[in-house]
Symmetry: C2
Subunit: 390 residues, 2 copies
């Protein structure tokens, strides 16, 4: 059996970044930059006032004559002369000749003259040209997943469109004679297909484009037909009713499945297929709902990120253990747990039951505690490695 | 000037949960439950096998006769008799009469007989009926924001649809003669409108339905026309070019704006309008990009959550300070900072520059350090209150 780390490496190595497409900024949330976006100009593009007030020359003394008013977007056209002032507002362009701004609340106006009870100095209340960013600076690096704040920054940098990676199409098929759709008649000895309803939004959140192929019966022909599916990654769920994945392996083996591996030393999980079906990578997830979702987090997410050219960020962090844990066996274990904050320290408390069929517990957990194979028993307060669930 | 806490309370108190609508489960990600969803049946609906193996009676001894095979979805129709066994698979219904499952790897089959080198006990490798959840249990409480895992759980509970809160329509208008759209010709002394590109995805992430009204010029008629807008909350951005918000207040005042407050003791931010324009609540955010985004996080998000009937979760957590901080002034301060994990402890390092025009720094930050008015100076390692940015 393969270790989780080796399996992850082999999966990530099997993918290359996809091509790119140009999308409007307003559709770019969550998309991944295919190339660095560099600023074409300084921001602010001119020295700009940080206050409502008056542009002045810091060398002048005493009262100044008000020679104009320049709201933001209506710059003063002339050059400020000796003992002159121009009324400015937050964001106004500072006129040529001025080197300071004095605040409105420190000004006393009488006719067209203004006096100040504050002293200017060069640069006072002025946002220098390029203070936010300079022409040529990278605003969003290649591989960046665009956040709301990134989009605001790119807008400020005058980008109406960005070049992002194409979203990988992830085709998803659940297998199992026991499965029915929610709200539809249930079969004798049957259950409702559930994992797919969690996987589809996760795939979208991770940057993929999910395509739901529905539920396939445990019949070779139905499963073999998956070989015709055009997508960037084919994901199967289960096959458990005839032994974990046996049907998927045999039916697709006849269609040319080149198996890379199919067992991983982990819990929940273990039976996990990875291979290539003609030109299409195939990931076979276990049928148990919690197993399939945990395996998706560990193996499907990195695959999607590899196709997006995203950095495979270290998702593991550490926390302190609430309670105790026995020594671990041969398999890497992912315990469902709840987080708690105490004085800036993250504590993780494993849920009492860890069966891989327990979706209700899984929905209430917010992190996984990872235990390496043969990890020693742990006392309350020990440091554990964790993985966030959302 | 109002405190941040008082302003938040007054905003939240001004909203009631909106009505509800029924949506298919596959469209429910991120939506908010309008009523608790209770399981209509136990899950699993029958005792089910946790292993590939054989259903047996734990009181029997020695070898058993194999009387059938029952893959998941194909239950055994009879009752298990003395010294009988039925072949089962993970997820198979355990037949009547059986009270244990023995694993396939512990079985030796010869003809229709099977021997085991493992001992059964009542309940061994059986997932009891209702182990995951029982009929009547709440699978998603009212006010829950539905996660991918919640959707998987609701599917398992046979929900094809859920009753969720209608999404509040948030109409958003930027004001300012200095503003242009990204990629379009820029005005003299002008800048590109940026905040709205961050606010729109944030509003969607928080559960609202953003409606972009574009950029309005600094003209009373243009701003007054907002009074005709039908939405759940009207948000304006800026008005800075003629003094912060003066134009918004005066133009909408003539249309019946009932002002609740318009200044908050905070940085970045301060000028913030909240009131009611006829029947529509109005939130006027500052024009500076970082100020508007921070104020949206502090005041717009709770407003949306109030309309969704979500719990106003305490978003503040604590972290340890990297570096030192001077004593704070009269305004509550929100410093842009970067996080760092050391041994399960979260450290927060303030960025060196904190000007409210710095979008690039804001995009690189991942949290805000909150400093209360007149907070004392802090040393490295002191505990600080933080707010996550994504």
């Amino acid at each position: 059996m393969l270790s989780v780390e080796e399996a992850t490496q082999r999966i990530v190595a099997a993918f290359k970044p996809l091509g790119s497409e140009r999308v409007p900024l307003e559709d770019a949330i969550g998309r991944t930059m295919a190339a660095a976006a560099r600023a074409s100009a300084d921001q602010p593009p001119f020295p700009s006032s940080a206050m409502d007030g008056y542009a002045v020359r810091s060398n002048d003394q005493g009262s100044r004559q008000i020679v104009g008013s320049a709201p933001a977007g209506h710059p003063f056209s002339g050059t400020l002369g000796a003992n002159q002032a121009v009324r400015l507002f937050t964001g106004s362009q500072v006129p040529d000749g001025a080197d300071a701004v004095l605040a409105q609340e420190d000004a006393r106006v009488s006719g067209d003259m203004v006096e100040f009870h504050a002293e200017p100095f060069p640069g006072k209340f002025i946002r220098a040209k390029g203070l936010d960013f300079r022409a040529g600076q990278v605003l969003a690096a290649e591989g960046t997943r665009l956040s709301a704040r990134d989009l605001a920054l790119l807008a400020a940098g005058d980008f109406s469109h960005v070049e992002v990676r194409r979203r990988p199409v992830i085709a998803l098929a659940a297998t199992g004679d026991e499965l029915s759709l929610p709200g539809r008649p249930r079969k004798p000895g049957g259950i409702v297909a559930s994992s797919v309803y969690g996987l589809i939004p996760w795939i979208a959140q991770w940057g993929g484009l999910p395509r739901n192929l529905g539920i396939l019966p445990d019949k070779s022909e139905a499963i073999a037909a998956l070989a015709e599916e055009e997508c960037d990654l084919l994901v199967t769920l289960g096959g458990a009713s005839v032994g974990d994945h046996d049907l998927v392996r045999t039916a697709l083996g006849a269609k040319g499945l080149a198996l890379d591996f199919w067992k991983i030393a982990m819990r929940p999980g273990k039976p996990l297929i990875f291979g290539r079906l003609r030109d299409t990578p195939l990931l076979g997830l276990p049928g148990n709902p919690v197993s399939s979702l945990v395996c998706a987090l560990l193996f499907l997410r990195p695959a999607i990120w590899a196709m997006l050219g995203r950095e495979q960020k270290q998702m593991l962090r550490s926390a302190k253990l609430t309670g105790t844990l026995d020594a671990n066996g041969e398999r890497q274990d992912y315990l469902r747990a709840k987080s708690e904050w105490r004085d800036g320290v993250l504590w993780a408390k494993p849920l009492p039951a860890q069966d891989s069929s327990l979706l209700k517990d899984f929905s209430e957990a917010d992190l996984l505690i990872m235990r390496r194979p043969r990890a020693a028993a742990l006392q309350d307060g020990a440091t554990v490695e964790i993985l966030a669930l959302e």
